[in-house]
């Protein structure tokens, strides 16, 4: 049915409401596992986050249904690897792939190359050296809902992220097999997702040629030991470790080596951040200079206790979290139980992999009842740490010191 729908889309270039209803099964109730308790009527607030179970996924927080935006509940981050069924989902257009036939699926390498390639899933698996790596990824807008003033976009809390183990072919090896011509400056990536209209810009993101050939990025065909779920990019996904997920193109079908930089909506307008440190700008005076978002900023996030948790006085509380950076390496995580006045070093778990998150923990025994503002901050090997104020109009790259409100009861 997926192909039919997309062929129809291509044929008409436009999908009216009638076609929408015809193309979707009208069965929302059965799939909505737990409702947030807000009636689906007009005039509701912004906190409607019902649970939903999509194909090959478990119950996730549904930020939006079509195209799907699904957020991972915090408790999955108590493990080193985020299970495939719980890994967050983000697509740009309703024309996302719903059917892939490996007999016909190909990843093309075209543009400024000596030998254009058409690689099947098996070609990628068998003709290139397999590389394994564990890498953290997050949506550029992860945690956007916490910015004040609020900004438009997917209203994620902290769950548009995950850590997974990938196996794939080095992008470098694939490009070298095609033979990059002299004068190449960029390599750009497209998936099979289709823009709904002729005028809609096809999602495509570039890396510089040096970045693409540095041997770090892979074309992954395996995620946590299994094929990718369709909604996470089956059959192959570009993994750009240390960089935001906007570069991790799903259902990767087209790799173009370019002698001129790519200019499109996704490069020149969307996914851009101020050039200032921490992507910080004044809401009343937005920055004039912007640049595409790229690498992860250093950041620590509480995983447990969860927001608005209630704990008991004089009872031990295990605090756990994750810390991320661009691959330089997390060296220190500190936590504060008094809103940032005093800080204590947390214990770092072992290093999982260069581009993985690093987990951390500490024990806390609150001695007084009342309200506590817990904070955490990470520092990486380059000395990059976190600040107490950050805002930008896209709601991107949130890396402000997190404050977690906890109530201690008698």
């Amino acid at each position: 049915m997926g192909y039919l729908r997309r062929d129809f889309l291509k044929a008409t270039g436009m999908l009216g409401l009638g076609a929408l209803v015809a193309g979707c099964k009208n069965a929302s109730i059965a799939r909505t596992v737990i409702d947030a308790g807000v009636p689906e009527t007009k005039g509701m607030g912004s906190n409607l986050r019902p649970w939903a179970r999509f194909p090959e996924k478990t119950d996730l927080m549904m930020i939006a249904d079509r195209p799907p935006l699904l957020e991972t509940p915090l408790h999955y981050f108590l493990q080193d690897l985020t299970p495939n069924e719980a890994y967050f989902v983000r697509w740009h257009y309703a024309g996302l792939p719903t059917r892939i036939d490996l007999k016909t699926f190909r990843t093309q390498v075209i543009g400024a190359v000596d030998r254009p390639l058409q690689l099947s899933f098996d070609d990628l698996r068998t003709k290139f050296e397999p590389v394994t790596l564990t890498a953290f990824s997050q949506c550029s807008g992860n945690s956007r809902s916490f910015f004040r003033p609020q900004v438009p976009g997917a209203q994620w809390t902290n769950g548009a992220m995950g850590n997974a183990r990938y196996v794939g072919a080095r992008l470098k090896d694939v490009l070298n097999a095609a033979g990059v011509k002299a004068g190449a400056v960029e390599v750009s990536f497209r998936g099979v997702d289709i823009p709904p209209l002729q005028a809609s810009p096809h999602f495509e993101k570039p890396l510089t040629i040096d970045h693409a050939l540095d041997g770090e990025s892979i074309i992954a065909y395996e995620m946590n030991g299994a094929p990718f779920p369709m909604l996470n990019g089956f059959p192959v996904r570009l993994v750009v470790p240390g960089w935001f997920a906007t570069y991790w193109v799903k259902c990767l079908s087209e790799i173009t080596v370019r002698t001129e930089p790519l200019h499109n909506f996704w490069v020149d307008t969307a996914y851009r951040v101020p050039t200032t440190p921490d992507y910080n700008e004044d809401p009343t005076h937005p920055s004039e200079q912007s640049t595409p978002i790229t690498r992860h900023l250093t950041r620590a996030v509480f995983v447990t206790p969860e927001p608005s948790a209630q704990v008991k006085k004089d009872a031990p509380v295990e605090i756990q979290g994750i810390a991320v950076d661009d691959g330089t390496g997390i060296r220190r995580v500190e936590a504060s139980m008094d809103g940032g006045r005093t800080w204590v070093d947390a214990a770092l778990d072992r290093v999982i992999d260069k581009y993985s998150w690093r987990r951390w923990r500490m024990n806390w025994r609150p001695t007084d009842v009342g309200h506590y503002s817990l904070q955490c901050r990470a520092t990486n090997a380059a000395g990059e740490t976190q600040t107490t104020s950050q805002w930008n109009h896209g709601g991107y790259g949130r890396s402000i010191i997190q404050t977690l409100d906890v109530e201690v009861l008698a």
């Binding site: 929302s28 986050r49 899933f121 209203q155 395996e222 070093d345 987990r359």
Partner: protein, 142 residues
């Protein structure tokens, strides 16, 4: 002789500083390291991959609230995204909804003419927005 003595003292100080720096760093890392469980290495299931994968996506609602502009929203905006994309936004002031709808036209190529743009903004403000708050009289532009 004096020069040699000074050199020896300086060397001792340098060695002591280096040792302290190294010890201090490793000490902090060591004190921070807790026993953690051995990593779970997933077993590859790639051999089980089937040649065709197909999923079916359900409709999750909600239906659009009635009101002037509902018909235009239902035919033009829903081409690319469902109504839930609006529902999950904060109840923005009019100027932000205007910018958002215009972005859909300019950036994403939504087939919405300027008249329809106004109708859609009115519709969004009517059920999921608010009118712009005039700037306080005493606020000074920075």
């Amino acid at each position: 002789m004096q020069t040699l003595r000074v050199a020896v003292v300086l060397l001792c100080v340098a060695v002591a500083m280096l040792a302290y720096a190294l010890w201090g760093r490793s000490g902090r890392e060591r004190s921070a390291a807790l026993p953690t469980p051995a990593p779970v290495i997933p077993v590859s299931q790639l051999t089980q991959v089937k040649p065709v994968k197909e999923i079916e996506l359900d409709y999750h609602g909600p239906d659009l609230p009635p009101g002037p502009g509902q018909d235009i929203f239902a035919t033009q905006c829903v081409i690319c995204h469902s109504a839930r994309y609006v529902l999950n936004q904060p109840t923005f002031p009019r100027k932000i909804w205007m910018a958002e709808v215009h972005k859909m036209v300019k950036g994403y190529g939504a087939p919405i003419d300027p008249v329809q743009e106004k109708v859609i903004v009115n519709y969004l403000v009517s059920w999921h927005g608010k009118e712009d708050v005039p700037a306080p009289a005493n606020s000074m532009p920075r």
